[in-house]
């Protein structure tokens, strides 16, 4: 028997299996967009045939980080901005795990921005969901990297002089191979995108628009959402990098002008994931490393035999 027998268990999976048996203390405000992510994520799991024991969910700090409490799987609620590096290594240690990371816009685009660039660049095979509510929620309403220019908050009383970050363009430039945007108010699209992202072999970045009714009442979250894949107006080849770049650039302007385009922007299913690259160069074993510690027949070489003769 494998040490990780939950992995690849093909039985019928019900989304309710991902609901903790006992509801944790509610920490999200009524009407919070984060519930939309939770629901979509739970719905996506049966679609991809994953069971709770084979999913490892890594979160950062912020309201978004509470996702783990509502989602029944293996979880690691890490520190502000650092979910990606922790998640990345878990995937390397056991490539058979389904690794999902999640965080807020402050968490993922602010403090953890550097990790996002590098995780995308390396194209780790994992899914990253950013709860983008254009505000710092948990610390009570400060301006975030996605808040629009001129946004006023207690820490920026004169209105932010900064332009918002362009997370999609940035991920594309960095090397992510699946980039999409969806919204809590678009549940059908959301679950499909999450399922697709999970099945994608490479780094999938989902910018998930979530409303924060408590701190960000001004945010234009109920404006028309256009699904670019459903709209005749937007004839867009998701595999074309050039086109995707142009599309992302435009939508990132439009986000603050009243029209929000959602859907898949870019899908590259040709490029090998980081794990595959690393195995190809011989830098990583074919078998999941984590298995070996449970395998009684595994051979553990002594450095004595291997290395010490160089020192004699």
């Amino acid at each position: 028997m494998s040490a990780f027998s939950a992995i690849g268990d093909e039985s019928e999976i019900d989304r309710d299996e991902f609901t903790p048996g006992i509801e944790p203390q509610a920490t999200w405000c009524p009407g919070c967009g984060d519930f939309g992510v939770l629901k979509a994520l739970k719905q996506a799991m049966p679609m991809v045939g994953k069971n709770p024991d084979e999913v490892a969910l890594f979160t950062g700090i912020g309201c978004s980080g509470k996702l783990n409490s509502y989602f029944n799987s293996y979880g690691f609620h890490t520190i502000h901005g650092r979910s990606l590096p922790v998640a990345r290594a878990a995937k390397l240690a056991n490539p058979e795990l389904e690794v999902i990371a999640a965080g807020g816009d402050g968490d993922g685009y602010g403090i953890g921005g550097n990790h996002l660039i590098h995780t995308a660049r390396e194209n780790h095979d994992m899914t990253y969901i950013v709860f983008n509510n254009e505000i710092f929620g948990l610390t009570k309403g400060q301006t975030s990297p996605t808040s629009p220019k001129g946004h006023k908050s207690k820490t920026q009383p004169h209105g932010s002089a900064k332009s918002p970050i362009r997370p999609l363009s940035q991920s594309l430039n960095a090397g992510a191979t699946y980039i999409a945007r969806t919204a809590a108010v678009n549940p059908n699209q959301a679950k499909e995108i999450i399922a697709e992202a999970i099945e994608h072999d490479g780094f999938a970045h989902i910018d998930f628009l979530t409303q924060c009714p408590t701190w960000n009442k001004d945010a234009k979250h109920y404006v028309p959402y256009t699904d670019i894949q459903q709209s005749d107006e937007h004839d867009h080849d998701v595999n074309d990098r050039q086109e995707a770049a142009e599309m992302m650039f435009q939508t990132e302007n439009k986000l603050y002008e009243g029209e929000v385009l959602t859907g898949r922007y870019y899908v590259d299913d040709q490029s090998p994931s980081y794990g595959e690259e690393k195995r190809a160069t011989g830098e990583m074993p074919d078998e999941p490393l984590a298995e070996r510690y449970f395998d009684e027949d595994a051979e553990w070489e002594r450095t004595y035999d291997e290395l010490l003769h160089h020192h004699k």
């Binding site: 048996g21 490892a56 390397l92 590098h118 490393l289 984590a290 553990w300 010490l308």
Partner: protein, 632 residues
């Protein structure tokens, strides 16, 4: 003091091959049966600048670099020969010669490359006067010329070795064998020829000196390696198969060695974007079931403070290495210091539960890294191996059998799926990963690994209940805090029983004590021997466990002496402070001898410092500081 030991110093510019030459020299002497020790000095510069390495050889195990040296091979700095405009170089070419005058002992030999260094310039730096004053035997030789004859002037090194061998009457067989083993083809032939020519040329000269290269033959097979090698091999033998890091001197050494070997052992090495990520990756790998390590030096370790706290709170095992260099901030990148102790003990928020080991030497680097992994994985706690530039850079021989230990692939307190079935679960089905009172009565609540059936739990840096859910319940908080902190008592008991990390040196009974930690231990022990030989009554205790602190052993030691001198390489007496804090008494018995000029102690300095301190005199030497006892 030229009898019965050779301390050979090779000096040149960084990039002149000083390092590799000295390594080969030391290895050849070891193979011929001697005990060896190397000491490296180098500037924070990539090419050029004055750098040297000393090789000390004796007929008994060598404890330290010794005091001064008795043979200088000055090659000159070849990178200073084409100074670029607007860069200040001064007499850089000659630095490897004149900057070494200070410590060359009376009656020593000074061999310099007259092919690189012009005689007129040499006159200008006052060699002749200095030689006369100190009774040095000066030997100019055209080493560059000999090398050039066979192709490349970089082989000045080999010529220097050949000449050294002739002057000291050392057989060249071992040097030849090393050249044969390390090189092939034309390079091999050329180097062998250079070695022979230089040997013969030097043999013609009439060099008068009284250095006696001792003789000895080991009764056991020896290996020569550095502290970084030993830490890496300890990690590999203890089943470490994942490392993540970001380069920073001197940590880079361990990171490089591990990166080179891990893939061959079926492991993974990751160079990542910064040190926060490095530590975070190690946590992720460990969480997913692989024995993992990361590390850095001062500034980089500062960035690891938050992930370190996360490891404590989530009880994720991990080993971090902290290779100290002189601080604060970027400080002196290539100079050793022991001033990150408090940083490593106390960094990160909250009441911390971590384990810190400070190996004394290469031998301990291996054994304590193994301890660090074993403790981390058995007790689910981050452990830190703190060492410094000194042990990182020095090479020493020890019996190969020291490493002849079975690997330990045990993942520690992890359950198999069968055991998880039997274990405690919450009514929701969640595995009780953080039991308040683990069934075996220990403070270690066994863990599961993602992917195992029915082992689901949440690891979080927030305070959490038994299943891992965030909880601010006061009773739960106390139960979890106590359990995490009490592990340190269990670990103290475990170490007392299973690992002998503290080292006693000198007579059992003595009036005075020297208390010393980390890399300065062996040097202090050499000083203790000398002090006792000259009629003092001194013993020493070398401490290698910083947290949990060996309170009992150190208390007994302090109790048994009238006064103790605490020797450490920093300006504020951090270890003495720790000792006082942990034991809570003997503050009136402890005074400090401190050095923080970028160089480790030499035994004679400790002897001097000790003597002045007991005589109530001010230190004569300006490179050290004395801090009197502060009272309780």
């Amino acid at each position: 003091m030229t009898d019965n030991e050779l301390i050979w110093r090779i000096a040149g510019g960084s990039g002149d091959g000083i390092d590799s030459t000295s390594q080969n020299f030391a290895k050849a002497l070891m193979r011929s049966g001697l005990h060896v020790f190397t000491h490296r000095h180098y500037p924070s510069r990539i090419r050029g600048g004055h750098t040297y390495v000393e090789v000390r050889a004796k007929d008994e195990p060598v404890q330290s670099r010794g005091d001064g040296y008795n043979f200088l091979l000055a090659l000159g700095d070849s990178f200073a020969r084409n100074p670029q405009e607007e860069a200040y170089y001064g007499k850089e070419e000659l630095k490897p010669l004149y900057e070494n005058f200070d410590e060359l002992r009376e009656g020593g030999v000074l061999l310099y490359d007259e092919g690189l260094l012009d005689e007129e310039d040499v006159d200008e730096v006052g060699l002749e006067e200095a030689a006369e004053e100190n009774g040095w035997e000066v030997v100019p030789m055209d080493l560059r010329g000999i090398a050039k004859e066979h192709g490349r002037e970089i082989m000045r090194n080999t010529a220097g070795i050949g000449a050294t061998a002739a002057i000291l009457d050392i057989e060249t067989d071992e040097f030849e064998t090393l050249i044969e083993q390390n090189m092939s083809g034309d390079m091999q032939e050329a180097n062998l020829a250079v070695l022979e020519d230089a040997y013969e040329a030097a043999n013609e000269l009439d060099v008068d000196h009284d250095i006696e290269v001792p003789e000895n033959t080991h009764d056991e097979e020896q290996v020569i390696l550095s502290g970084s090698n030993a830490i890496s091999y300890g990690a590999l033998d203890e089943g470490c198969r994942f490392i993540s890091g970001y380069p920073m001197t001197p940590w880079t050494d361990v990171f490089t060695i591990m990166s080179q070997h891990l893939p061959n052992f079926g492991g993974i090495s990751e160079q990542v974007e910064d040190e926060i990520a490095a530590a975070a990756l190690a946590l992720g790998a460990s969480h997913a079931g692989v024995k993992a390590m990361s590390g850095s030096s001062g500034g980089g370790f500062a960035l690891m403070s938050e992930p370190l706290g996360l490891a404590e709170m989530t009880e994720t095992p991990v080993v971090l290495v902290e290779a100290m260099r002189a601080g604060p901030s970027t400080g002196m990148p290539t100079k050793p210091e022991q001033a990150d102790l408090e940083h490593v003990l106390y960094t990160s928020q909250g009441d911390s539960a971590r384990v810190v080991f400070a190996p004394a030497n290469i031998r301990e680097c291996y054994t304590q890294t193994r301890s660090a992994f074993r403790i981390a994985y058995e007790y689910q706690i981050p452990t830190i191996v703190i060492y410094d530039q000194k042990i990182q850079g020095e090479l020493r021989n020890l019996p190969a059998s020291h490493f002849d230990e079975e690997p330990n692939a045990d993942p520690g307190s992890v359950l198999t799926e069968e055991e998880i079935e039997e274990a405690a679960h919450h009514s929701s089905g969640k595995f009780k990963r953080f039991l308040h009172e683990p069934e075996d009565g220990s403070n270690v609540s066994p863990r599961s690994i993602p992917g195992q059936k029915n082992g689901r739990f949440l690891a979080t840096g927030n305070e959490h209940n038994e299943e891992g859910h965030i909880s601010e319940d006061p009773a739960n908080r106390i139960a979890q805090m106590n359990r995490r902190l009490e592990k340190l008592d269990d670990i103290r008991a475990d170490l007392d029983e299973n690992a002998d990390h503290q080292t006693y040196h000198g007579p059992e009974e003595a009036d005075y004590g020297i208390l010393v930690w980390g890399s300065q231990q062996d040097t202090a022990f050499e000083a203790v021997d000398r002090l006792n030989e000259t009629g003092h009554s001194v013993k020493a205790l070398g401490v290698s466990d910083m947290m949990p602190y060996p309170v009992e052993e150190v208390s007994e030691f302090l109790e048994s002496v009238d006064q103790a001198l605490v020797v450490e390489m920093n300006a504020t007496g951090q270890f003495r402070g720790l000792t006082q804090k942990e034991i809570g008494k003997y503050g009136d018995k402890m005074s400090s001898l401190l050095k923080y000029n970028g160089n480790p102690f030499e035994p004679a300095e400790i002897v001097d410092g000790f003597e002045s301190s007991i005589n109530g005199e001010d230190l004569a030497a300006t490179n050290m500081k004395y801090l009197p006892a502060a009272g309780d």
